[in-house]
Symmetry: D2
Subunit: 289 residues, 4 copies
């Protein structure tokens, strides 16, 4: 069974050897290893290894974790172990637009995304049929009209409760058109992915295609990022753009942008689900899967 | 001999027919015609036509211009005639970086850019050798160190005088690292192209690659635009981007960006030299060559 | 109501004026016009015009058609009129892969593709559920196992009958893994679009991703083309590619290729449905929508 | 001082640990390490390490080489050590087109390409001035007109002699329009890079842009590959493409292709000069620099 570990520490001699030796000593075969030293002198490594032959059961996992922990202490290392037998549980949050939702569900069914999707949450009932056609539970948690800040807080509490109940590991805001409270965002910052329909940091906030049209840009983009309490300012995981011309109206941009949004979100989601993404200084290291 | 006319007017019935009929009546063969109606109800057209068979000499040009003018009055049309026998005179302004300059000179020699380049102007002597190897006159107009605003104004006046003397139609700021005065910019806004090393409107102003690194973007870009008095806010002619990853340092971005900058500037310059670019509402219509 | 006409003729003086004048004389407002003269001296034009104000009913359509026909005779012109009130009827042919089918159905529902989809035809029952979730009739016409050439001919005859019965204007082979007979292909060559999973002419025929892997290419591609009786050799409508690296296995290519295939097919389909595509010399002219 | 080692062996447990331990034991700091296991069960690794602190001089290099050799024997490993203090000597071969030559020389001067360029060889005198403007020796070795196969063999012998005399490590065919003999190709196959102006395997051989035009493709490409005795069939190092439309004539393709050719060749050359490229089964593994 494959395991992955991701480590981060100051760049020092011997780190690679120590980790390689440790895993070899425990009988683990390293399947893949990728490392990166940032300009700031920080060292990152992701190792995928197999311990199926030798050690079995949780007892041995604790041996492994203790061994890594010891090396970590020596090198001032932050580390995390990921277990492939623990599949992430993903909640998708949507509003009315279906393109990103369809895209994730189709890829999931095709085996591109290694996760469970136990719930789709929306503030509108529109996409219930899409969820149903893929056999995924759908829960509509609407914002009562004119309910003001209190109504918003109440709805957010319902979302929070549902996430707890469902034991969710990862939130995907697949064109969810509501802004969560700072509190909610902080609590979920490390495991919430949002897709924004511009090449950030251009056109943060609302109506980016309208503003792109007004500015007369010749490319439009999409950005998948971790959602933090600061709007559209979280660590960027993936971006892409497509060319447009003066012939493209705002409506054309919205249409062309849909293709971008779903591709960019899907790539980011796949990277996160494969435990390939590390965050530092509001930036990401995205290792190859 | 080919001529081009570009027109702009409110979108009204019969415009196309009127212009086509006019040119046909004068014996001009339409070689190419491209039109576009903006969402705001404004109509743009570019016609390339040949009057070589029938009318010869400037007398006939005035007949043509009078005829267009009459149609223009009828439709509330702005128009401009371009004559292929009048080749544009381009001044290239550079500082110390040679990649855009080389690119323009190589393309010019290869026949990609239909223009004359009577002068290269710089505030530094570094690129004199490059100019010399292509046989283009080079003029160094340095900013005296510590000369303050007065020194800057004096240098700008020298640039201005040189542009007048050389009868320049188009200024290309090929990584010219000086900012001109508002007055200078306004005077030359319609015929000055700048290359900015980011995908505007992201990272306007100084050190865009450093700021791109800090923001952790996954694409970097370049933007060719008309330089107006508002810094990096003029009408965008052409943009493109390239992917980067967490592995790319600021130095890598600068290196990869050089390829983008020269490609984007070259495409914009070619479009402008072919009289394919019209400006409205701080946006451009870029017809195909 | 908008109409479109597409014409093709030898490049001669006065064509544009004649057509513009004709439409203006009939009270039709030209909404868009695009033209192109090929290197071989052939002239192509697409005009989109509105005759809603003035002429009403089929009687006037015949006036229009007679007028165009007269001009056509004068210039040796081939022409075709398209009527926006006649929406094309599209049959989608699939086998077992769902990604292109989903993509078309989602875009159709979103209003991106102006057509009716009265039938989805397959040689396998697998995608019946997808069709059902979009409310589109599905018909499984399987190839009896071991039935040989006769079985194949029988199945093809069933497909043909169904197309006739459904009054189909356009066939879309959305990863339909059967090859039709030369006879069938010839009969439908002008209105059958296929998506091939390589950047043709590289890797014509079967298993292009496997062969791309073996050749060690650094890009993979997809090609939408008119299906003719010569396999994968028909006029190309649209192509695109994506980068790969040595890390990409055949399975990775297949996964990444799915995104390409659906994007390329969708763009081609949209162009064809908008009457933007003309064929000559086994090449296409693709006007902008 | 940095060293690099590239290894290739059957994929077996403990390889990574053994190499990491070996280098650590010799006091070498691993600066970067990248590995890859091909679908065929072959393991590749590239390690960049620093031995400046501890071991000095060639004596210690032999200790290092012996140590690597021992590990290599154990794992059935092929290996090669690269020394950063040994800068590669590159010969550029050109005919009449200057765009790739200029590009390499400009990048070299800008510090993008870590190599020496002691000689530019051509069968035509045209580019002598370009070479001179960068201070690089130029040698014209023309093919006597009508000299037939013997003349060709004689010229090739001159090229061969010059390469020997100049102690050349790498040949770059920067649009060198001559085909070398099978014998010459075999001798230099592992260190000759060619740029071909199509997305191979499409349009191998002569006049690819003309054939691309005839086939009506919507993208054109360029391919940098190791030149082997089989024309345009060697291992591909880098490829890229650019979109074209029906409006692009062969001349337009040639113009747009120039930009592709120089970019693709430059990327391939940089990868090879950084010792990032390994060949197996006529494919390449291209590690990141």
């Amino acid at each position: 069974m494959a395991r992955k570990t991701m480590v981060k520490c100051p760049d020092r001699k011997g780190v690679i050897a120590a980790l390689a030796q440790l895993l070899y000593g425990l009988g683990c075969n390293i399947l893949a290893s990728e490392q990166f030293t940032a300009a700031e002198g920080v060292y990152f490594q992701r190792i995928r290894f197999d311990l199926s032959d030798i050690v079995v059961g949780t007892a041995n996992v604790s041996v492994l974790e203790r061994a890594v922990s010891e090396v970590a202490d020596r090198f001032g290392m932050e580390w995390k172990l990921f277990y492939d037998n623990k599949v992430k549980r993903v909640a998708i949050l949507v509003s009315r637009m279906d393109h990103c939702l369809y895209d994730i569900l189709i890829r999931h069914r095709a085996g591109e995304l290694r996760c469970e999707i136990p719930i789709i949450i929306s503030n509108h009932p529109d996409l219930e049929g899409v969820a149903a056609s893929f056999g995924v539970p759908f829960r509509c948690l609407p914002l009562a009209k004119g309910s003001g800040p209190e109504g918003k807080a109440a709805q957010e509490a319902q979302v929070e409760a549902l996430l707890q109940e469902m034991d969710i590991d990862l939130l995907v805001l697949a064109r969810y058109m509501q802004i969560f409270s700072e509190d909610f965002c902080s609590r979920h910052a490390k495991h919430t992915i949002n897709i924004h329909h511009s090449f950030l940091p251009a056109f943060e906030g609302a109506k980016p295609y309208h503003r792109a049209y007004e500015r007369g840009v010749k490319v439009i983009g999409a950005t998948a990022h971790y959602a933090t309490s600061e709007l559209d300012a979280g660590p960027i995981i993936e971006q892409d753009v497509t060319r447009i011309s003066h012939r493209d109206s705002v409506q054309d941009m919205i249409r062309k942008g849909r293709d971008l949004e779903r591709l960019v979100l899907a790539r980011a989601l796949r990277a996160v689900l494969s435990d390939c993404v590390m965050v530092y200084d509001n930036r990401t290291v995205v290792f190859e899967a």
